[in-house]
Amino acid sequence: MSEQPILSLEGLSVRLPRGADRTHALNGVSLSIASNEILCVVGESGSGKSMMANAIMRLVPGEVAIEAGRMMFDGRDLCTTDPAAMREVRGAGIAMIFQEPMTALNPLRTVGDQIAEMFRIHTDLSKAEIGERVLSLLEDVRIPSPKTAAKAYPHELSGGQRQRAMIAMALALDPKLLIADEPTTALDVTTQAQILKLIRDLQQRKKTAVLFITHDFGVVAEIADRVVVMQHGKIVEQGTADDVLNRPTHSYTKQLIAAVPPLTAPPPRPLSSDNILTITNVAKTYRTGGFLDRGARVTAAVKDASLTLPRGATLGIVGESGSGKSTLARCIVRLIDPDNGAILLDGKDWVKLKRAEIRRETRHIQMVFQDPSASLNPRRKAAELVAQGPIVHGTPRATAMTEARELFALVGLDPSAGDRFPHEFSGGQRQRIGLARALALKPDVLIADEPVSALDVSVQAQVLKLLGELRERLGLSIVFITHDLRVAAQVCDLVAVMKDGEIVEHGLVADVFSRPQHPYTQALLASVPGGAFAREHQTAV
């Protein structure tokens, strides 16, 4: 911090157009970044952290106005720089990488061409020189076979490779400042670990200043030199990573950190010897494409999965995207018909049930979905959504509606809120409605498919707490699907790790997480961002 700051924001305020849910996205924000340091900006959704990144690049939509303050970069105020000079700064002086590597690259142009464009607009290099620079950049970001990657279209690369290509593009002209807007949020945990390491390495080699925006304190612990915590467009706390993470002073920071589930499991609970759900050798294969059996691709989404769920326990199924965990969950409730295997629920084999029988039996096993806004029909009122299940199963409408209101109280919602439509609730409240809907049928088993991954961390903690309480009170047995090992560690008694459709390891959560046997489980655990911080900090869950 001895050096002159590369960028300093002084009292920056950004006003939102009329009709938005708040007047200002940013309110008097002041911070500075020196070269060769990584400054993490942390906040929940709506904190204004992404708007700050766009404001620095002057890439805010027309109706959003930078109202006050200065943004000093390289001796000039970016707030007053004219558009042509601003274009010189973009890419060459300040570069940016985004959250969604899937959509941040033009699908119709090759990756190499898009990186080369950086040189074409900002330098006078010859075509051959540009080609060489592109290849060496792709080598720098450790993309496998850079020559092929340069000629590839974005859809031919994996998410992690695309993000590497984005980083290559951003660092092409050795910018003084790199803005990374949640660059690993859309990636799997192992890929995330690799990308974080890559950013760290390149930053140290090139002495770039990095403004790293994230919502995840694990990532902060992994990468930050200094930390800025934002809430409602204001900075509530800033300091060195060590200070903020271990000795937070502001109550909001404390609350956020406490909401992060640690990776260590709580002491194990006694488990019943009676299994309510037994899955044996379940398999599901997909065939895609193919015309008259030519060129058909066969994907085994779930291979030979066998698991047991003791009565009253929570079984976690963890894995990265494409591991088959969601397919397995949907097989259990027969949203997807498995190819073979047996699913015994209270002694009845679900795989053999007919459609009409499933409709009857479904009240014993219910599901909670990932996206609380997508899982509620936007055209039905909340109480009606909760009452739907009992009505389908023959409860008179009036009774069902009364019960629905009781369930509202059970999941911590105001019973009078039943007359509102889903869009009038917050994300956490919507997930509570989803929970109430599943519980309305008084099921024995609850399948929860990533129930908290779309929620902010503090809301996530509340919903997990509620789920724990309900399990005790109603004697529920839960299958909990998640990609987040920290969440699994907190709520599960047993855990199964899936990779490419196979269960590679399963057992008591404390055993699996402290003494992982399978190399993939080991890699997965090692990839959880934050290391020591993730294992040891104090928590609220």
Binding site: R87, E88, H155
Partner: protein, 325 residues
């Protein structure tokens, strides 16, 4: 190669569709009052029942309907569309004579509509909600609401009757015999008004789609990436928006091919062009059902061919398509 294979497979998949159409229309036409022989007899000024029976036997009309259908399909496989009793020629010959003006008209109208739809769509999207956009969008709505035959008639009143700049109808001047470039110019002069008339509604559709598509692409993440690179607006639009925004337009050509061919029925009637559309109209009036069935087949075939070309074009524009095959 891969692209051609892909488009070829879609072409092959449309063969059952063609047969479905043909069988459907064939059966439909069986319900029509009167047959070819009735039409022929009416043209000859009547005749006795015995002659009619002879003729029916000659044309195979005394067979059962499935047998007639089988007969027709068997002939079709050998590219024989039957005989038009009204024109006294094989249907295939009649249609081939009438095909060139229609193809010329469609190509011209499509090029006109596509080009100007593209240009106006881009202009409108770059000035969204400002006056050029309002003007273009309003004109688009008015063009869309204009009945093509009425626009054609009004164009004739203005350009042929009052200003006398352009001919009011026909494919070429039959008064004089022209050759080479003079004939080309003469035909082009005759096609200006029909092209505008047929193309107008498609111009309106294309500009609306292009505008919407541009606005959508301008909001995508990779356009933000392009801006973050420091590209100026012109380069952003040329390099990252235009080609991507063109994709829905290209799809639309394929979807609209049938509508355009249908529109040519009306336009060719307004401008007395000796094309396929006018032939369709005439064969309905004259109850020449054999020819009508032939036209149904050929126009469906034409639509299939247009869609094949569109598939090729699309696959060239979008690398994601050829990867899926």
């Amino acid at each position: 190669m891969r692209i051609i294979g892909l488009a070829g497979r879609r072409l092959a998949a449309s063969i059952p569709t063609l047969f479905l159409i043909l069988i459907g229309v064939f059966l439909l036409l069986q319900l029509a009052p009167g047959d070819t022989v009735d039409a022929l007899m009416a043209q000859m000024g009547g005749g006795d029942a015995a002659t009619a029976r002879e003729l029916r036997k000659f044309y195979g009309l005394d067979l059962s309907i499935p047998a007639q259908l089988a007969n027709y399909l068997w002939h079709l496989v050998r590219l024989d569309l039957g005989f038009s009793s009204i024109y006294g020629k094989p249907v295939a010959t009649v249609i081939m004579e009438r095909l060139p003006p229609t193809i010329l008209l469609m190509t011209a109208s499509l090029s006109f509509a596509f080009f100007f739809g593209l240009v106006f769509g881009v202009i409108a999207s770059r000035a969204v909600n400002k006056w050029p956009d309002t003007l273009i969008s309003t004109l688009g709505l008015v063009f869309y609401a204009t009945p093509s035959f009425w626009f054609g008639l009004m164009a004739i009143v203005v350009f042929s009757i009052y200003l006398q700049w352009l001919p009011a109808g026909g494919f070429e001047d039959i008064g004089e015999v022209r050759t080479g470039i003079f004939r080309v110019i003469d035909i082009a002069r005759h096609l200006i008004l029909p092209t505008l008339t047929l193309g107008l509604i498609f111009l309106a559709i294309y500009l609306r789609i292009m505008r919407a598509s541009m606005l959508e692409v301008l909001n995508l993440d990779y356009v933000r990436t392009a801006r973050a690179k420091g590209l100026d607006e012109t380069r952003v639009v040329m390099g990252h928006v235009l080609r991507n925004a063109l994709l829905p337009m290209v799809t639309l050509i394929g979807l609209q091919a049938g509508t355009m061919l249908g529109g040519s029925v009306v336009v060719e009637s307004v401008f007395s062009l000796p094309g396929l559309g006018r032939l369709a109209y005439e064969s309905v009036i004259q109850r020449d059902l054999n020819t009508l069935l032939g036209i149904v087949f050929v126009s469906a075939l034409l639509v299939v061919v247009v869609n094949f070309v569109v598939d090729l074009l699309y696959a060239r524009l979008d690398p994601r398509i050829s990867a899926e095959g």
